[in-house]
């Protein structure tokens, strides 16, 4: 009898389901011949992000607009970053682009609002993205489950024309992006390479307190991992928006007015150019260039320093309220800070603690009674 995993009943063209893709983490720039687990580190993620963004802005829209038969849902979702980025820039533009036509006083007033709005958009995005790791990192540390684990999926496409040989495309997914169908298969070790088949699951089982050297650690921890992944996804879909709101709140504070007064346009390099002729200045090209570069570094250094200081002051103002703030505003400012912090802590706690508590008891029961709650050896199971 052939294993149902190996053979598909669906008439899939160019399916890669010839063998179980037992894989070890690959480097991203290798040519993949099968679905491949990748390392979750900065360089991989950065390259994935660049790859996705480039495709989202070039290949995918081109395919979509021409109605290419190989366009798929992944491409549609990946293109979702396009409106996000364009939208952010447009939103900045809505508040800033008309200002230059105004008379000076109105211009300065409008710029004040415009700068803060642009900063708000920036902080919204940054806070939303950065805060995600506040949820996933503690979960990974406590449970060993890394919900951000990426893998490369090899897609076999229909040929675009008669002799089209380039029929594969690579998509970057996450192992747990679907909580209903996580890619368990990618997590099994390749025994031919000396990695035990359940190595990953053993590790998680140990972290989750299920014990060492379990016979079927994969079966035992899969439901747990699924639960963790589900909870993490739920928390991750809500809490970052609270941080994003905090980001906007910080950007709306008064200290930024002074910051933008001083560093209004970082691209005005002529401001510190030594090539502008000064009276009695007899420098050669090299000296001018050197001085200009020095000025640029100085200016950038000051800007960075001032940005940090202003950020700190803004957070403090958000907490304490500005000079003429109403009581409601002061209270709201405090809530803006506390709500995301508390939500993150509670979220992490709900994800981590819920699992740790439940599991050891069941294991204990199993040891006491000899009956495992997870796998009951005397029952028959249909493997799905």
């Amino acid at each position: 009898m052939v294993s149902p995993v190996n053979t598909s009943i669906m008439p899939t063209v160019n399916s890669n389901q010839g063998s179980i893709p037992v894989s070890s983490p690959h480097k991203i720039n290798e040519k993949y011949d099968k679905d491949t687990l990748l390392k979750n580190n900065f360089s991989t993620n950065f390259r994935i992000a660049i790859d996705k963004l480039t495709n989202a802005a070039t290949v995918y829209p081109a395919k979509g607009l021409t109605g290419n038969k190989n366009s798929n849902f992944y491409e549609f979702l990946t293109m979702g970053t396009v409106p996000y980025i364009i939208g952010s820039l447009t939103l900045m533009g809505v508040f800033n682009s008309a200002n230059k036509y105004f008379e000076p006083f109105a211009k300065s007033k409008a710029a004040k609002i415009g700068n803060k709005m642009a900063l708000g958009v920036l902080f919204y995005g940054l806070a939303k993205e950065l805060s995600k790791s506040l949820i996933t990192a503690p979960v990974k540390m406590a449970t060993g489950v890394d919900v951000n684990l990426p893998y490369a999926r090899v897609i076999y496409e229909l040929p675009d024309y008669k002799d089209d040989t380039d029929i594969t495309s690579i998509e970057y997914h996450k192992v747990f992006e679907s909580v209903e169908f996580p890619r368990w298969d990618l997590l099994y070790g390749d025994e031919s390479k000396g990695i035990s088949r359940n190595a990953y699951y053993d590790k998680v089982a140990k972290k989750l307190g299920l014990g060492k050297n379990l016979k079927d650690s994969d079966q035992e921890v899969k439901p747990r991992i699924k639960e963790i992944a589900t909870k993490t996804a739920a928390v991750k879909n809500i809490v970052p928006y609270l941080w994003a709101a905090l980001g906007v709140g910080v950007a709306m504070q008064e200290p930024w007015d002074d910051f933008f007064k001083r560093f209004s346009n970082p691209f005005k390099f002529y401001k510190y150019s030594e090539f502008v002729e000064h009276e009695g200045q007899k420098w050669n090209f090299g000296a001018k260039l050197g001085a200009t570069v020095q000025n640029m570094f100085q200016e950038t250094g000051q800007a960075v320093k001032s940005f940090g200081r202003t950020f700190k002051n803004s957070v403090s103002e958000l907490y304490k309220g500005s000079k003429n703030a109403s009581k409601a505003n002061i209270m709201a400012g405090k809530l803006m800070i506390f709500i995301p912090v508390i939500a993150t802590v509670l979220g992490d706690w709900a994800i981590i603690s819920g699992n740790k508590k439940a599991v050891p008891k069941k294991v204990q029961d199993a040891e006491n009674t000899g009956v495992s709650p997870v796998i009951q050896k005397d029952r028959k199971y249909v493997v799905n």
């Binding site: 149902p4 366009s71 549609f76 809505v94 505003n329």
Partner: protein
Amino acid sequence: METNLINNYINSNKNFLTGPNKAEYNRAQMEARDRENFANLTAKNNMKPLPGKGRLLNSSVLDLPVDFVKGVSYDVKSLKGGLSGNSNDHQLGELNSLGMAAGGLGIASYLYTKKSIPSAKWMEFVGLGSFFASMALWPKLALGVPARIIHGFDIRQKYQDSMGRTKFVYSDPQYIPWDLYSDKEINKIGDRLHVSKDIPNRRDFIQEKMKKIALQNNTLWMLTAGFATPIMSALICNKAEQMVRNAQARPQNSKADDMLKNLDAYAQKQDTSKYRKRLESLLKANKNKPFDAKLAEKIAKAMSFGLDPQVAAALKADLSTEEFINNGVQITADEVEFALQNIPANASRFRREKDAITKVMPKPEEIIEQLKQKNLMGRALNADELKSARSIIVKSVVAKLPTVVRGWDEACEGAFLEDITAKLLKDLGSNNACRLSEDKINAIRTLAGHVEDFYKKSSVIDAYRLIKVADEPEVIIANKWNDITSSFIKIFNITPKDIELNRFDREHAQQMFRSKLEAITSDDNKYKDVISKLAEQVKTLDDSLSDSHAAQYEKTIDEVFNKAAVDFSSLGLNELSEKLVSLQFRINDLTLPKSRDDYWMGEYRNKLKHLNITEQEAATVVERFNTIKAIKDPAEKAQKLHKLLNEVPVFNFDETGSLKRLQKAAFQERLAGVRNTFYRMINTLDLYRRVSKADFAGALPNSIPREVREEIIELSKQIMLQGHAVDYSTKFYFERNLHPSSEGGDIKVVKGAVENAFYKPKADGVQRVEIPSDLNFFKRVMRFMYGNTTQDGADYGHEMDKATQDALKDKGLFDKIQNYNRDFYFTMGNETDVLKPNIKVSGDAILSSPGERFLKVAKAPDELVTKLVQDSFNTGKWKSMFIGLGIGLLGVTVASQFLFGKLRSPQNPIKQNQQRN
């Protein structure tokens, strides 16, 4: 063991496909095998797939509320499931929009608290809502609707899957649930897509085409949403801002009107518990502690209930009077003895006679007996009773002194009393005087009750004034100002080009507006239209800020402040009473001066003349006031004082620096500044009209040399359009020809502009100067601008233009503007100037303050227009940029539809054969 049917099926098929006897199987056998397998899968083992429950959703607007509720309940379920680890992918995806909404609400709520302008607060939520709305509406309106019209099907078709989850049919081009469409539906769409009817596999082809269209649209959606959402949202907000402002202004206005009508009810609603608590805890903490200046100040501050610090200062003074401090003192026998002992030592000027005085001091028992007889011992005394107790002692002491002090006379007695009185008073009440006794606490509570009552009422008045005329954005007067002035763009037909060219500079805007006025006033129909529209707009000010509103406001203030002042005065809070209404100040005005020399008497008579009261009447008022002051019973005193205040008009003639005056002036001044600006605008238009019509009868007769008339007209036009109060103060500094031509003749006016025959300052080379000695020039200019003959039979000036009169009478503004003009003419025309002290429109100088003159002249029309042009340029520029972008984007998006769905139709084999043959 149960048969694994699926595996059996696969294996059998596998054998069938790869087996060695492949050739033996014919079609019938294959079908028989299939039938057998099917039977195995279904009937025999009763195992078959459940029929699909998926369906296409055709929701209408009517379903929106139900869909919304369902959506919320689904989200809640998803959240619950997510946090317990039981949600599926679809549910988790939905949580994303929930998070986004939560974050958005957080931002809007925070910014709501941060903004101070009411409409800006609500706009935060409008902004959030419009952003979400734009996200949802853009794909519907810019992609869905055109696609439906052009291609005949809904690219955003939703369906419900068997699990009850709602999804888009076309979001995943690799998985489209085509089985939900019937053949009929698909063929109908195919007809709309002009798919030939005789091609093989028509349904497949139509589906392919639909898929392509949907995919192309989805991609376009992703590419355009980033531009469209913020722009659409910003435009919605821009449009909504005015509506939000109106929506919150209208109820505010009627609430304010209601406040004055039901003052007491609103006063009761004022929360004073905070102040009460503060006062009570202060009294409790300081009970029986020395009642010194510091404590009096603290109590006064707590008692002032958050009113003006001036009130606290006045209260402190009232609480520090001897009457108040010594109120409630009890005298004991020990104290009498102690006081008597101290008297000889206290009389510092009689040190040499100290021993003698000590010998003749009365016995304490005698004094105590006397005090007891007069019922001045063993109970709390008020300040007056304490005084009589003191005088009993003093009399007994002084009675025997002539016998021991040589040369005792009146002067000696005076010196003796001066020396001992203060100390005596202190010694007498030493056990409880100057302490915060229970009696004092009760007295303070009573006083605080009255202050509280006043605070509550004056808070309502404050709230009314703030809503109507506060110097803040979006109060009623500010909204009215914005509404009326922004209508000027349309009324005066200021075009976008005018706006763009003149936005940077007042001089440019001035020239632009002047030529507009000249063009309008020289065309009869246009003028009638413009003046009537202008009057219509100006009239709207009366809707919420008419004279009757002002009168009602002032009446309420008089009532509340007069009553409070009388109450306070009768309770001994004279300082506070004075702060509120300046009663004593007015009485001092009416009282004959101590020094009766000519200077002081002249001042006195001037005051009475100003107050419009005779010397006789003034004397009666002063006498009545003094009688009332002497009344002991607080209730009677209050009643009489109240009567006096209400009966004598001079007390409401409050030009003094009282708090009552401040309340009234704050309202009057704001209203005057706005109203006079509009009146001046109407007058400006009228003046230009009279010039355009060459209507100079009355003010500028031909007897005046033509050159001078030309100068007068030019100056009048300039002053009306751009003059400030200072121009009137200097009696118009204007450079003129020192030797004007004596020629007469009519003034020539072409299209509203005077064609000067003589006055050509830029071209004729005449050196022009200011001529301060010309007494008539100023008068004539004033007459031409503000003089009018239609009122009071006055013989000065000029009538308004007929069309202006008609329009103003029609809107009920005629009399108001006539009054304003008359007032203006005399107030501004009769000021004395250093350079030209004798140049006035009439004989008497009229006293007016710079503030009054500033408000009378109000804002110059050219400045108003300059600001207007700047503001509307900014909004207009922004709008035109983004409306342009929005329309462009929409155009490109819709036009793209015509390029979508192009697919080569498969050849019909029959047709192909026919063609070949």
